[in-house]
Symmetry: C2
Subunit: 333 residues, 2 copies
């Protein structure tokens, strides 16, 4: 196995976030489930945008956020995802370049526009996502750049890739190439509704060894095993995958590796403003640490630190150097 | 004089802000003067964007920010400014509509794109603006909707309107209509470089009674009268205009009305994140108070409260209801 040239490659839906602060009444009027992600088509995206309050636009997408986090730690990051040759697409590509994230996926030029997620932030800081996938629907196995996958210590894929039909083939192809090069493959379960849509397929990926590392929050683990018994769910997870990191909100996270269970507390966060991307950023810190050979507990601490940074402002991309924040807190990798 | 149907109409350059956090080295490499606003053309805008870090896009423009502040206080606001029929233009118009701000200006359809300002935020929270005026250059007297001006208790214009050549005619036309309807006209001097470009014309506007109220910070007042003696500058200002509000950073503001000088302290701000728009939001609070007949000291306190809100996050548009913040602090209008 040759030396990795990339710490973490992330593959996911390339999405521009359109964020707006709103109130609970708006969610009720629109019939939205707080904290969830729903998929919408272009007319519904346009209708909803019409009714939303003032917005700000920031590059997003779970896997893109995770790549941004890895880069902010000083890691070598890469991203594969599909944008169109339009203004939001240029905006997305600009941000990847500005962060020095390799982005070897060509633009879609069929006229379908770049994906976007209308994210409604309620006063309780929860986010409710309404995602129009657009160009993301056209990610295919042909977009999986083999050299990038082979050079990445870890390839990380988002569960949301199961939504666009051709992307799941891309996912499996990426896993095959990564394992062929002796690398690790990680997946995030994305959200508990996503788990509900694809439970069988996610379990199959784990049980057939296509993924080595699973990221999930406590709700997603319960959903995966259709149980309300967290301890039992964790035992099942330990049987199904060699390494898992389970986030538990303010309580921190649990690293599950064989018979080991390591609870790592999260440092308290002064003022939570927006929960968008907290899971994505946890993954960035954990994966960066893992790619650099840090012990699991340090990986989880780096994850909590990254999540803590983005909880304190609007948007899922770090506003401060995570490398600097880690050094301030005495966490060196 | 009929009852006003609008509290505050603002007229200015309709600009989408493209914000990015950077370091001092970047400003030095680019030869930029920290804290200033410079005008750039489209090729330079594209070149600079190429070199900037990750960005977020938020509707901006001084007068637009002020209108957003007035609306956030619960005031009836209107805005006149020129955007193109393109994505940033739609984004800008969406935000005005979402804030219930009347926006009676038609889109420009000549192919010139919507104006944008690349705003570089340094770790000391200063902002350095690089503005491509685009469609703003095409604001003409024909865009001044007479009914809107006649119905507004105060029409507020930004000094930056002096940069696009046709806009200054629009400015003078708006002042004529407002005074014809017995309304008040306000101007902000925008920045000390702007004052330097148009000192004679600004003084002429004041001395010929085309404006009744002047907003400026301490640097701009010194620049206006080409002196380093603040007291002397304030005396000259009092001679030239019936009412002025001079902001002085953390010290608060001074209301200058004839022989009266009222110093109004600003409440301390915990964590300043980004100074973009602080002056614009001060004006929003002051103007809202004035339109509702509040005493000058209360107007200045509302201004400081609004500025304090936006200093605490990235971007120049309020993220919390200023009406609610004012009520919390016992400031009722």
């Amino acid at each position: 196995m040759s030396q990795a040239t990339t710490d973490v490659l992330t593959i996911g839906n390339a999405i521009v976030d359109v964020l707006s602060q709103t109130d609970d009444d708006f969610l009720v009027r629109e019939g939205l489930v707080k904290g969830s992600m729903r998929l919408i088509d272009q007319p519904e995206a346009e209708r909803l945008y019409e009714h939303m309050g003032p917005t700000q636009m920031i590059s997003g997408g779970c896997a893109g956020n995770t790549a941004a986090g890895v880069a902010s730690f000083g890691g070598r990051a890469a991203f594969i995802g599909k944008v169109a040759d339009d203004e939001p697409g240029h905006f997305y590509r600009h941000d990847m370049k500005a962060l020095d994230i390799a982005f070897p996926t060509s633009d879609l030029t069929t006229g379908i526009s770049t994906g976007r997620s209308m994210i409604l932030i309620t006063p309780d800081t929860e986010r409710t996502m309404n995602t129009f996938l657009g160009a993301c629907l056209e990610l295919t196995p042909g977009d999986i750049d083999a050299a990038t996958v082979e050079g990445a210590a870890i390839t990380y894929l988002e569960g949301y890739l199961w939504d666009p039909p051709k992307a799941k083939q891309a996912f499996v192809e990426a896993s095959r190439i990564a394992h062929g090069a002796g690398r690790k493959v990680a997946i995030t379960l994305s959200d508990s509704f996503c788990v509900d849509r694809f439970r069988g397929e996610f379990l199959d990926l784990m049980r057939t060894g296509k993924v080595d590392i699973v990221f999930a929050n406590n709700h997603e683990v319960l959903s995966l095993y259709e149980t309300s018994d967290f301890r039992a769910a964790v035992e099942a997870l330990a049987d199904d995958v060699p390494l898992a990191a389970v986030t538990m909100g303010a309580e921190g996270s649990m690293v599950v590796a064989g018979a080991d269970r390591t609870m790592v507390p999260a440092p308290p966060v002064d003022t939570i403003v927006d929960k968008t991307g907290a899971g994505d950023l946890f993954a960035s810190g954990f994966l960066f640490g893992l790619a650099r050979g840090a012990p699991h507990a340090d990986c989880a601490a780096l994850g909590s630190l990254a999540a803590g940074e983005i909880l304190q402002h609007i948007g899922a991309r770090p506003q401060h150097s995570l490398k600097a924040v880690a050094e301030q807190q005495g966490l060196r990798v």
